[in-house]
Structures are given as C-alpha cells and as structure tokens.
Point group: none
DNA sequence: TATGAATGAGTCTTCATTCAT
DNA sequence: AATGAATGAAGACTCATTCAT
C-alpha cells in the first residue's frame, strides 16, 4: 500500500470511528456531518470523498458491527462441544443478545437496521466492510449435521431473527413488558418451537 | 358544543388528517410543520396550539390508527363462529395483517411504533385518541374460554406481537426473504407453537 | 365604586402584580404578554383593555415602585432629627440604595428607567400610579432650610441622581470595580462635594 | 495573508460595518440577523461563522468604538501643553463627550454599554477588536505626574466615568433637565471636586 | 487529495394583536 | 367588559453541499 493509499485508509477509519462514537452516544438524527468531521479531525469536504451522506456511513457501520458480533459468536461456539443444531442456534442467539445486553447503545443503534437484509448479506454497500455473510454461515451450520433436514430453512431463520431481535429490543431497553432475563426462557422455547416446526422428521414409519 | 368548541375540533381534525396523509405519503422525517399546516389550511401558530411538535402528532396518530385496526378486527371476529382461543388470535392477526398488506403506507407508518407500548395501552398521550386498549381486550379474550389456562399470558402475547409485526414488515414491504403469502403458513404455525408453549395442559393424569 | 368598576380594579391590579413579579424574576425582554395574563389569571384580550403593550406596564410600574421607595425614605427621614440639607440628601440616598441593595431584582428592574424623567415627574403615564413627585418634594426639602441658598438646584440634584444610580448599579450588581460597601464613603463624599459646589455661601464679608 | 484569509477579513469587516450602521440607525433590538447579512452582502450562514449572535457583534463593536474614541482623545491630548492631572482628565472627558455630542447615534449605541467593564478592559471578547486598554492608560496618566498621590484611584475614575456618561446621556439626547452646554460647567466642577476628594495632599506640615 | 469558507434553503418557534362570541 | 382561539409575520438558527484554492 503506497503512502497516499495508506493515508486514505487512515482518514476513512477516522471517519468511521468518529461516526460510530457519535451515533452511539447521541443518535443518528442528532449527529451532523460537521460533528463527524470535527470529531474525526478532517475537513468537511473530505467526508464527501468517502461517503455520499451520513446514512451510507450508518449502513456500512451496521454491517461491520453486526458482522463482528456474529463472527465472535461463531468463534465462541467452536470452543464448545455443542452438537445439536437447535442448541447451536440458541447458543448464537444467546451470545449475541448477551453482548447487546451489555452494550445498550449498540443495541439501540443496530436494532432498527440489523434485519434480514443485513443478516442475509452483511455486506450491503461495501464488500470490504464485513467479512461475515450471515446466510452462508447458516447454511454451513445446517450441513454440519448431515442427518438434519429442514423445510424452508431460510424462512425459519428469518422468523427466529425477527422474533429474537424485536423481543430483545423492547425488553432490554425498556424492560417492557418484562425484563429480558424473565423473557429469556419463553423466548428460547419459542425459538425451539419454531425450529421444530421446520424439522422434517425421519420417523416416517 | 358551542360554536367555538366546534371550530376547535374542526381545526384539530384538519391537522390530524393533514399530518396523517403527509406522513403516509412522504414519511415523517420529510414532513415539516409548514407542510402540515399548509395542507390543513390553518396557520402555523395553530399547530402549536394543539401539539408540541410533529412527534406528538405521530404518536397520537399511531394510537388512533392501531386502535381502529384492532377494533375492526374484533368486530369482524364477533361475526364468526370461531371458538378456540388459538384460532381467535390467528384470526385477529390475519385480519390486521390483511389490512396492512392492502395499505402499505400505513404499515410503513405504523410499524416502527406499533409495538408493545401501543398494544398494551393504545392510549398513550391523549385518552380521547383511541377507544381500544389492547391488553384489556386480550384479557377478555382469554376469559371467554373458561377452560383455558395460560402461563405468563402477557409474555406470550408480546412474543406473538413482535414476531408478527416484524415478520410482516419485511415480507410485505420488501418481499424479503419470501413474499408474505409464502411466509404466512410458517408464521401462523410459529404463532400456534408459541401459544401451545404457554398453555397449561389439564391432562395431569 | 360599583361592582363592575371594582372588578375592573381587581383585574388591573392582578395584571400589575403579575407583570411586576415576572419582570423582576425573568426580565422584561423575556416576559411575554402570554406570561403576564396567564400569571394574572385573565384572558389575553383583557390585557389590551388596560395597556397598550408591555412597555406601558413597565413604565407605570417604575413610577409606582420608585414613588413608594422615596415616600418610604421621606417617612423615615421625618422620624430623625437630621436638620442639615446635606445630611438629609445623604440620608435619602442611603435609605433608597439600602433598599435596593437588599433587593437586587428591583435594582435591576428600576435602574435602566429610574432616571431624571421619573424623578422629575414620577407620574409619567398615569397620574394615579404614583403619589410621589420627586422634584416637588426636593423643592420642599430646600425650603425647609430657609438659610440655604443653592445655585441651579435642579442641575445639582440631577448630577447626584445620575452619579448615585449608576454607581450603585455597577457596584451592587457586579461588585465592579469595588463592592458597594467599599464605594460608599467615596460616593457620599462625592455627593457632598457636588452639593457644596452649588451652595451659595453667605459669608460674603 | 493568503487570498482566502484576505477574503475572510473582508467578510468580517463587511459584517461589522453593516451591523454598526444598522445598530446606530435603528437600534439593536430592531436589527435582525437578516438585516445585517443583507446589508453586508453575505449569506446568512456566514454570520454564524463569525459571531454567536447579534449581541456578540454589539459587544465587540462597543469595544472597538470606545477604544477608538479614547485613543483619539489621547492623541489630541499629546498635542497640548496640559500638565496638571485634573486638567488632563477634564480634557479627555471633554474631547470624548464633544465627539458624542456631534454623533448622537453613537452616544445612544455606546451609552448602555460603555461603562466600567469596557473602560477597564476595552478588549472583552476579541483581543484584536481594540488596541486601547482604559485602565492601563489611566495608570500611565497618573504616573506621568510623579508628585501626584491618589487614594483609591480606580474608585475615583469609576465615579467620574459613571457621572460623566450618565449625565451626558440625558442632557445630550433629551436636553433634560438642562442642555449639555448648560450642564457642562457644573459637571466639570463636580468632576474636579471628586478628583480633589481623592488627592492625598503633601502639605502635612 | 484535501481543505474549510461560503452558501441559502429550510425548519422550528414565538408572540403581539385581532375579533367573533 | 371579557374571553381565548386563531393568525401569520418575523426571527433565530442549522446544515448538507459546493467549490476555489
């Protein structure tokens, strides 16, 4: 990487970092381009060399952040002995939600955007922003259990994702209608029930 | 009602109607107070006689709209012979989603806000804005089936609400990951599974 | 006084009292007609039955307030044995400033307006607002000492008034350049010097 | 100075000039930001690049204007043969008031603000706005007369400043209670009397 | 590539005043 | 005489975007 290219990378990272901090601390709506560049220590015009507007920054940050989160969950899963598919899904959900529970600003930031689109293709805007492809990863997870057969696995995953994310948003951030800890067993049971709805039983005899 | 009070009501309704139309057609962020009052045919100052800002209008509109939707679902349910609790829930969910499917702007508008908060107490700001109290209504639904016993019914309802609303948002508006029609059976199965997780079986013998 | 006239008087007083409180507590610029009528418990339109605008209220309040202050000073002076003209002036100045020192909002409020205009004719707008006529009173003060002869007494009084009021404003409210207590002896000496400048000495022999 | 920096200076000066003209001709309260930028021929946003609000413009203009005035008085004093401290003070007061008498809008504008604060440190906001430091200058004036000893010279100066400024405001602008020309001898006598009150006499034998 | 001064449209908000009741 | 809903002009301030350097 030449010196110029290196410098570019530094500016880009500074802008990402600055925007991330500001989005988390004061929300996207209240963060202006001015805030971002000032915090990043670059000039205003520079922002427009890298991004179209602050929403592009947001989207790419969501990809990055979500990708990191699932990658970490995956690595943690590797360390365990868990073999059942159901348990693996629960493990990942639990890991990710656990992280969000401890970092509410990230939850706040990511929630409205971490949806199917991101999970299916964590890289929406810029391929370089995330190394994690949610759907591919999930396919691998299924194939690990050769004996497992699922009906419309994508739909199943979608239902789990939507349920988990919106349920944890309300309970973690607002304790409504119950605390997340209280919700947890019922949520995980619901997820298990959804999975079972999609498992094709071999017992056809 | 005196002439003055009548006039007041007319202005208020004009503002509500104007804001509703604009929120649905161009979104909340792009709608300014100027747009709202111009469209309503009243002066700018009048807006501030009735509302603090456009977000108050939004919240009260969500209450009103969601309340109407569930009330209509309820009336429709009355006309049927459905007696099982599970079927009643599915009927209501199906009715409401059906309406939203045919009116995507309303879905768009209501989604980010029609959540537990609204359902639990459709009346958040102004008691006059909605006649429908989601939670009360649900309690009655349970009590109609005297033989039915549920474990943490509120949590159950919460899970169903969150799952249904976020799943229908993505599928109806973006056809992602599948069309809503394709999702429907799986979604309803998921809801039924959640309900069953919470039913306390009498078969204790 | 008829019942209607009585009622009018009550509203007028309520408006005066309300404006006075608000002017002292938050300043004139930040006090709106809305604030005044709300605080007074009357309707907005009523304000305009009694006053042209808030500046009329202010001017009449200044007259009232300043008039009361000097009247009180006068009454207090009566109780003393002070006979020298110089001492009488100092007594009055000291009494008035003493009151203002203990009530800084009044000082703040009155300062920019209690000037020669008000003193010369405490009643500027409405004769009913004040019973005190500064200049007349001062004339009487001079005539009490038959042996005293002054050159341009009005100018002398003017110089004393201007010096005393602006000097006490800065020192009392901002402690600049010194505290009022520190300034006091020098201020009173300056006043005495000004008086002596205007006394026509009898010692012509 | 680069082309950009030069251009900046031009805009800043245009804003100062525009605001100054408008403040003098129509008063601060009735001058809006809109007026200032329009008159200056710059965009609205540009105003906020240089000032927080119109009150900052006012304060900096007062410093500039008062500084210029006293500097001119000083230069004029240099040309004379005046050696007595008392006469020097009178000369400066006379020079400054003479200028204000011929330019009533400036008097109007400066009066409410040219007080101790400004005199003590003409540079309040921006060091670049004024070259004149009132208090320092006064100290030098005293030291020129090595034989002169003053008791609390700052208080003395304060009394003179307050008396002169408020007395000339009322007489020049309103001819109340007399014209300034009529007041002049009495005012200057009063000032001389104040100075003498503070002179420590050497004649201790 | 990077800068940052300049822009000016756009938005919110306040408030004195009117007038039908 | 009293009310208070309605007005809309007026003003402050923000901010994404451009462009000459």
């Amino acid at each position: 990487m030449g010196k110029a290219a290196e410098n570019k990378q530094i500016k880009l990272e500074a802008l990402f970092k600055s925007a991330y901090d500001l989005f988390l601390s004061q929300g996207i709506a209240k963060t202006s381009i001015h805030d971002i560049v000032q915090n990043a220590g670059v000039a205003k015009g520079t922002f427009y060399l890298y991004f179209k507007d602050k929403y592009e920054v947001r989207d790419r940050l969501v990809s990055k952040t979500a990708g990191k989160l699932f990658l970490a969950a995956h690595k943690e899963l590797q360390k365990t002995e868990i073999s059942s598919f159901e348990d693996k899904i629960i493990f990942i959900v639990d890991y990710v939600i656990g992280k969000l529970e401890n970092n509410k600003p990230i939850l706040q930031f990511i929630y409205k955007n971490l949806s199917w689109g991101v999970f299916r293709q964590a890289v929406t805007r810029n391929e370089a922003d995330s190394d994690f492809n949610g759907l591919d990863y999930f396919q691998e997870l299924i194939q690990e259990n050769t004996s497992l057969r699922l009906r419309s696995p994508e739909t199943m995953l979608f239902l789990i994702m939507e349920l988990a994310s919106s349920a944890c948003y309300s309970t973690i951030l607002e304790n409504e209608p119950v605390s997340f800890q209280e919700l947890k067993p019922d949520l995980y049971n619901a997820i298990r029930a959804i999975i079972r709805n999609h498992v094709i039983s071999d017992a056809t005899t």
